[in-house]
Symmetry: C2
Subunit: 297 residues, 2 copies
């Protein structure tokens, strides 16, 4: 990672964490336990990949960052709520996330369900209320984009397909569809929301960003699958091979480790080519993508 | 109930059910099980109280109903998701709702969690996309109103307080706060969303509707508590006394049955007086309120 990107990532992370802290209700207000669970889940250490994509797209397009602060915050709130619910006993049944007790272990199941539910509501509240967000017509498109990416045709639908796939034989196309929905939808929404905030962007530019986001959304997840097989537990925060051990479908299991690596390389080339059509090859977005797809954790 | 109101209620119910059916994804599309669970939960027989409040307010204010169809649909989707999650084993642990298996019993817990999550997303998607909804600036206010009413400062917060109250000694003020959030917030949002769609409404009119909605929101829940004690199980769909048996705080338990009845009467008078300040005493909204607060189930 270049020093420049490292500094940017740190700046974006700090920025969104300040925004998140500002929009979450204080623990001193009732119901304090619910607010604590919300804060515990959202403000846990994380890479803030989705907000970074929002900010990187905005910087690439010359959009002032305060215009997309609400979108960056909202997409991270949706991501955070999905982790809380995915960890529940009836779902993935995880006790730890990045070395800390999961929300339902640190609090209780009912609180975790309600924390997730209220974080989802907060995401839309932030899009609607953020003082520096775009004009109403664009805000409406942000709401539409985030809601569609989160629901049955996006993230929640992908999680449903993923659960249904446990222990079953899947083809690569099935697995790519699960990935495209479960993680890809929010990744695409992150780039798309920032692009919606750029009034001067033409249709060809918007389409290039869609192609870029589609490619890195899938590549990001395949890379995650690779790290699950060969990653360093101290960096990824979960035991090596844990997905496969649970009967979860992974890319390397279906295509082999080399096949998975080739797929990431191909998708990376696709993403880079999409950016190059608009002279964005040296942009903050290109730098972020290179880091995301080359990461070791 | 007058024949006129009966006909209106039936019309509003059919109208919102047609809208709901239209916005829910088909079960023939993947993930079919998730879509089935969404439809099972949303299209279950119900009174559609919240959509009726949206439509009654719109008719009272002369707002065309197609302008509020999205809001009527969205508030019912939020209500439906909250029932699915409230019924979960970690929450109220109910096997039956109105005589049918609850969502997690008819499907499974993971599907119920995801059905609720995706119904919440769908509510905001409908507000953003509905073809006959109001202009973007008003739509944004609808999103803000519904998100705030659903989250930690509204419905989800009320449910958290309610769970925390189980088995504890509460005062009447505590109980009224729980009711104001858990059910009151969405009732108030129903009236407020329709009022937001009436461009000609002045501040005094808006304030009168807020007072009205605050009063009936609380009265509706106290009436529910009364019906839990003295209601006819075949009409209410749940065993008499079930709330108190579970250690849930109820109004009659704290104020006595007569005290609860007096509170409903007082709140009804307050609601009626608020409507009268604007000549709305013979309006569809007044008729709906009289029915809601006089109902036996």
């Amino acid at each position: 990672m270049t020093a420049d990107l490292d500094a940017r990532l740190g700046r974006w992370r700090k920025r969104v964490e300040r925004e998140l802290d500002g929009c979450l209700p204080p623990v001193t207000r009732e119901p304090g336990r619910l607010h604590s669970a919300q804060r515990y889940s959202v403000l846990a250490p994380g890479k803030r990949v989705r907000p970074a994509l929002v900010y990187a797209t905005a910087e690439t397009l010359g959009v002032p960052l305060e215009r997309v602060d609400g979108a960056a915050c909202a997409v991270e709130l949706i991501h955070a709520y999905s982790l809380v619910h995915d960890d529940l006993p009836a779902m993935d049944d995880d006790d730890l996330r990045r070395g800390r007790p999961t929300c339902h272990r640190a609090f209780d199941e009912a609180t975790a369900i309600l924390a997730g539910d209220s974080l989802q509501a907060l995401a839309f509240s932030v899009l609607a209320h953020h003082p520096h967000g775009p004009e109403p017509a664009v805000r409406m498109q942000l709401v539409a984009t985030l809601a569609d990416a989160s629901g049955a045709a996006g993230m929640a639908g992908g999680q449903a397909l993923d659960l249904a796939a446990e222990g079953r034989n899947l083809g690569l196309a099935d697995l790519e569809l699960i990935h495209a929905l479960k993680t890809g939808a929010l990744i695409r929404a992150s780039v798309r929301m920032a692009a919606l905030c750029a009034p001067g962007l033409d249709d060809a530019g918007r389409e290039a960003l869609e192609r870029f986001a589609g490619a890195i959304g899938l590549a990001f997840q395949v890379q995650d699958d690779i790290l699950d097989v060969e990653g360093d537990e101290s960096l990824t925060g979960k035991p090596v091979g844990s997905d496969e051990a649970r009967g979860l479908p992974t890319y390397p299991a279906l295509a082999g480790l080399d096949g998975a690596r080739r797929r990431v390389a191909g998708l990376t080339a696709e993403a880079t080519a999409a950016l190059a059509t608009h002279g964005w090859e040296g942009s903050p977005l290109a730098g972020l993508a290179a880091w995301l797809l080359g990461r070791r954790h």
